[in-house]
Symmetry: C2
Subunit: 427 residues, 2 copies
């Protein structure tokens, strides 16, 4: 089932259908999205004047200790003395910060169930998880408690909650939004991303943070839009059915430009057709980087983790670190090939996730669960390619949201956002 009008307010209607509430009636307490509430006024006036935002508790706010979703982290780190760069950028563009939101522990889960701080509400599907690790930021936006929110995305931590909660979520091109003041997890994949209910708001935030427009350049033109066969094939049939009318609409809007393409063709390598290849590249590099970034703290502080990160960490520690070079070699080969194939004009189209949000307490966080084995290859493609990816909240399985994603070559965030605007413009 898809919302045939591709209306930007689909989420809000879905929400009121389910909860029998208008969005404005969801309280802070019902959302459970925040770990801390405060007000930081804007430092200047600008393109984000009058907007409010929230910040994932993995990103520094001066005077507050960034908790990273874990009480031991909170207790073993000093307060931030300055804001993260991305927060200073947003405040200087006119927006008002209203608090910090729950993250999965050390950003290491796609579920959004924090053992210590709870599970933020997914207002579009209250019996289901919001998705993680940027769970509170997605919830705060979906519950209309803020206009937009900052999250981080290493392996899907913005895209998956955006899909689950039925909101827009951008993972920008790797390396453009500063990570200074953000907990490092896996630096060659880490990005700061953001959520909004409204594409115009998302665009305004993108223009503040990235910034993406060259005043001397014309608007980018759209070439091919490649529907990635292997990633649609990984999706549940209900998800495939839900996304079919959205894709049909995409074909209609960009007639003659939408085609089915294989990852093997784009990468010029048969190994790219196998989801397990992407899973391995992502996991080996993410896991080994994570231990380099956080291993010393975990060893010295001996934090108590909930079951989801504990299971994940066992898995991470099993990697043979002398093999990391092989994962890097394949990652860089696929990254070069993908970016070469996309060039300045082409896009990928893929399901944001292969399934709708799992039910709460499903305990599917084993790293070899069907959920992870199918989701990570889908999210890994943009990670490996350093591509910007936008999740569009345009699909529904029954009343439960599912995102369709577009991705572009590294640095082409503007093309991506322009295509989304063109696609969803009223006709």
């Amino acid at each position: 089932m898809v919302n045939p009008s591709l209306n930007r307010d689909a989420t809000i209607r879905t929400l009121s259908n389910i909860l029998g509430l208008t969005v404005s009636e969801i309280t802070l307490e019902q959302s459970g999205a925040f770990v801390e509430r405060f007000t930081l006024p804007p430092t200047r006036s600008g393109s984000l004047d009058d907007l409010t935002f929230a910040v994932k508790d993995l990103i520094d706010i001066a005077g507050h200790t960034t908790g990273c979703g874990n009480p031991t982290w909170l207790a073993t780190h000093p307060p931030a003395t300055v804001n993260a760069i991305c927060v200073d950028q947003i405040l200087a563009a006119g927006a008002r910060c209203v608090g910090k939101t729950i993250t999965d522990e050390i950003a290491f889960s796609l579920f959004g169930e924090n053992h210590h701080y709870g599970t933020p509400l997914n207002p579009a599907a209250p019996d289901r998880v919001p998705g993680g690790s940027s769970s509170g930021s997605a919830s705060a936006v979906a519950c209309a408690l803020v206009d937009f929110a900052l999250g981080t995305d290493t392996g899907g931590s913005v895209r998956v909650p955006a899909s689950n909660c039925g909101i827009w979520g951008l993972r920008p091109s790797h390396g453009f939004i500063s990570l200074a003041g953000v907990m490092p997890l896996a630096p060659t994949y880490d990005t700061v991303g953001f959520f909004a209910r409204d594409l115009n708001v998302l665009n305004r935030v993108a223009n503040s943070l990235l910034p993406i427009a060259d005043p001397a350049a014309g608007p980018p033109t759209v070439g091919a839009i490649h529907l990635i066969k292997e990633l649609f094939a990984l999706a549940d049939s209900a998800v495939q059915n839900a996304l079919t009318p959205v894709v049909d609409q995409l074909r209609h809007t960009f007639h003659g430009k939408v085609r089915e393409t294989s990852l093997a063709e784009l990468c010029g390598d048969v190994r790219a057709a196998n989801p397990a290849t992407w899973l391995t590249i992502y996991r080996v590099l993410q896991g080994t980087e994570m231990l380099s970034c956080l291993g010393a703290w975990m060893e010295s502080a001996a934090p108590e983790f909930g079951p989801a990160p504990s299971v994940g960490l066992q898995f991470v520690r099993s990697h043979d670190r002398s093999r990391v070079g092989e994962a890097i070699a394949l990652r860089e080969l696929f990254c070069r090939r993908l970016n070469g194939a996309l060039g300045p004009h082409d896009l990928l189209c893929l399901p944001t996730a292969p399934t709708i949000a799992p039910l709460k307490n499903s305990k599917a966080y084993d790293r070899n669960s069907d959920y992870y084995i199918r989701t990570l290859p889908v999210t890994a493609v943009s990670g490996v390619g350093r591509l910007p990816q936008l999740s569009l909240p345009l699909g529904q399985v029954g009343t439960v949201p599912i995102g369709l994603s577009l991705a572009a070559a590294h640095g082409n965030d503007l093309l991506l956002l322009n295509v989304a605007k063109q696609f969803t413009a009223p006709r």
Copy 2:
């Protein structure tokens, strides 16, 4: 004065001229390059078999506490539990690690004079500084104590010591060598780089760490080589004179391809012609990122710093953080324009530094000293553009080395290294 034969062993001859020693006679103690000596055997056999290397003490080695050049840092951090990713890559390629080398405190100087741990020997100019912040790694290579060494380069910390010590130094494209397990200083500029006396060795290390070659692609072809007018103009006349015959040789090797070009032309913006523009972009973003990365530790641990970082930190704290967005906007504009102008075939050519190594104890570390005001705009261009830059040890002012640099578009490290190989091949 330039070594007219462009001989790769220029450094070694210079050294023996000055010290009256052959390189192999310089002892560990004379070099003062190491903070710690140990042996880590390779984990596999590969393309770096039989080579030895050293690691800047900003990069993790399992079981050792990374000291970052400051005793308080050493005392307030737990030992690393795993190696940094780049170290694991190198060990798996067959090289043997022989120890950790001195860094300037928190990597925040271009001089290489560490108040706590001393000044590593610049064997090519023993009365002058080795350059920093990767001072010990440059010294260890220049003294022939190792075949190559890992450093980091945020604002010149590999390129400047390579120039000062008369060795090869590569700052790779931003974002390709993992920074996991490396102290973050200013993430949108931070890179892991490396030094060697021999270009073949440098190439082997580059192929292990990056990796840069696509087996399906042919060798890259060279288009234009742009001599950057504004940056040559910033150099001392002695440096200009020293580099002239090297540039003449470049014109001879790549006849018809070498031309004088302005940064204003490459960036399509008159502001780019002013070195102060590059200085400001670099400093505002580097300084604000640095406080986001290290401010909380500095506040809570109250480290004792030597005079050079202390003076620098006063300067860093003076930035108005609400202006960081303006620096980012200009940085991204220039980055896009530079990369667009270079494309897949063209290169920049610039002096690595505008001066030879300063004399030791010159106390020129005030951030508004002539040294910093002229050096940072030269090193900032590749930082802002995310460009790979190679310093070639081909110039000499009297007997003191000065590097000539080539830079390429982001991701084109292979082009850069191939051009250097072609340039220095025996004729």
